[in-house]
Homo-oligomer: 256 residues x 2
């Protein structure tokens, strides 16, 4: 009987959240702590200048649901330390996100920030994302793979401070070729900052772009797996050190 | 004559921003694009549901200053693609932050998110932070080291897609022992979610904690350097892949 904390970044009304509860329900005690409003693109943001509140709003099929005015990362902190009063969580799940979190999107993603936040304290964590932005997306393939991956994670564990970034292609279950263990694709969002004009003549801009894959030839990346019909499972750490650059800068130490 | 774009996460009125302009001014053409309001703790957040605006608000000593309603990461995107119309930037500088961005704080930090965002597209970038939260902090030591580090970076360059996380202790210049090239300290913010009660009986919480250093014995970390009187220079990548975990999960591929 595992204790599972669930959050997401699309807000408490998202279908992806219900899909994840459905995938997780049979594994133990499930508690949901999520945000009042969508938190997509909020990255690892926390709330420092506004007090946080948390409210129990429903219990359904034995699952307790709470809402906060915070970000996805706040939800993990409140879930762990306020709602669950520091009980040991066996697994933190985040998602299922409506839309991809491959490549550098992991850094913009509230879904993955929640999983990474849990891994700071050593809680095993998984972020799930379906490559379908639609609010009415079909989550059946994602639920099936979420169950498989939750089973494996609970059975085998994860190395301490490691979480998983799981992306699922928009395909039916029989079209999926299987799981690929991947690495993060080198790429960036090419921004076409769309310029518009308001009724008063003021200019404003919307972020709008596409992912520029800088290594289209590689076959071990998350992008390759997703484009070739595989579920991408990427192990994630939070060590931002470029270890191979350390020796290149070492001579800077000699100059006071 | 280098082209330098500057942003920060403490808003356009922060003294740390002026300190960074002072440090950078002699290296070439400096353009500032920053936020209307403080963006501390906003991590790699971007603005997706509100249109972005940008306004030129002053020119001082040849430096053009712009303000936006966006986050620090938005400022980099708007600075690069709207204000500078895709001119090649030689260096993106962020800060000087009022407060430390060592250890996992790098992931919560708007200052470092701006530098990391620039590195996505291959722009050399440095985030500077002074270990003093005071709005009236003394930036003289930080300015002196910022000048040194900007000089070295412009002369030698940085490996592509690498940026620097520079933290400066709250010490006078002659107390500083020198520069240490460091790696990210393993640690997490221990949260004491402070509980308060509003006049109507409702409970609310403030995030309030301290950095729990999980490797106090190590002498090559950012935390060690800072506690021992060194300026910490940590090379930063954005590859969140735990490469050493890939082989441990490889057998998951065989189970459809």
């Amino acid at each position: 009987m595992s204790l599972i904390l669930i959050t997401n970044d699309d807000g408490f009304e998202a279908r992806g959240l219900e899909a994840l509860v459905e995938a997780a329900r049979d594994f133990g005690e499930v508690v949901v702590v999520t945000s009042n409003s969508p938190q997509s693109g909020m990255g690892h943001a926390i709330t420092m200048h506004v007090p946080l509140r948390v409210k129990h709003y429903k219990t359904e099929n034995g699952v307790k649901y709470y809402r906060t005015n915070g970000t996805s990362v706040d939800c993990v902190k409140i879930g762990q330390h306020v709602v669950l009063r520091d009980r040991k969580i066996d697994l933190l799940l985040s998602g299922i996100n409506h839309g991809s979190n491959s490549s550098v999107s992991i850094l913009y993603s509230g879904t993955m920030a929640a999983a990474i936040e849990a891994s700071f304290e050593g809680t095993p964590a998984i972020g799930f994302s379906l490559l379908d932005y639609s609010p009415t997306a079909d989550f059946s393939t994602a639920i099936a793979f979420a169950k498989k991956i939750i089973t494996k994670t609970l059975q085998e564990g994860l190395p301490k401070h490691i979480c998983l970034n799981v992306n699922i292609p928009k395909l039916s279950l029989h079209e999926i070729k299987g799981i690929k263990i991947t690495r993060q694709t080198l790429g960036y969002w090419h921004e076409d900052l769309e310029e518009h004009t308001d009724p008063y003549g003021g200019k404003y801009y919307w972020l709008a772009g596409y992912l520029n894959n800088l290594e289209t030839e590689a076959t071990d990346t998350c992008e390759w797996a997703l484009q070739n019909g595989y579920v991408s499972v990427m192990p994630v750490h939070f060590d931002m050190t470029s270890h191979k650059t350390i020796s290149k800068l070492k001579h800077w130490e000699h100059d006071r």
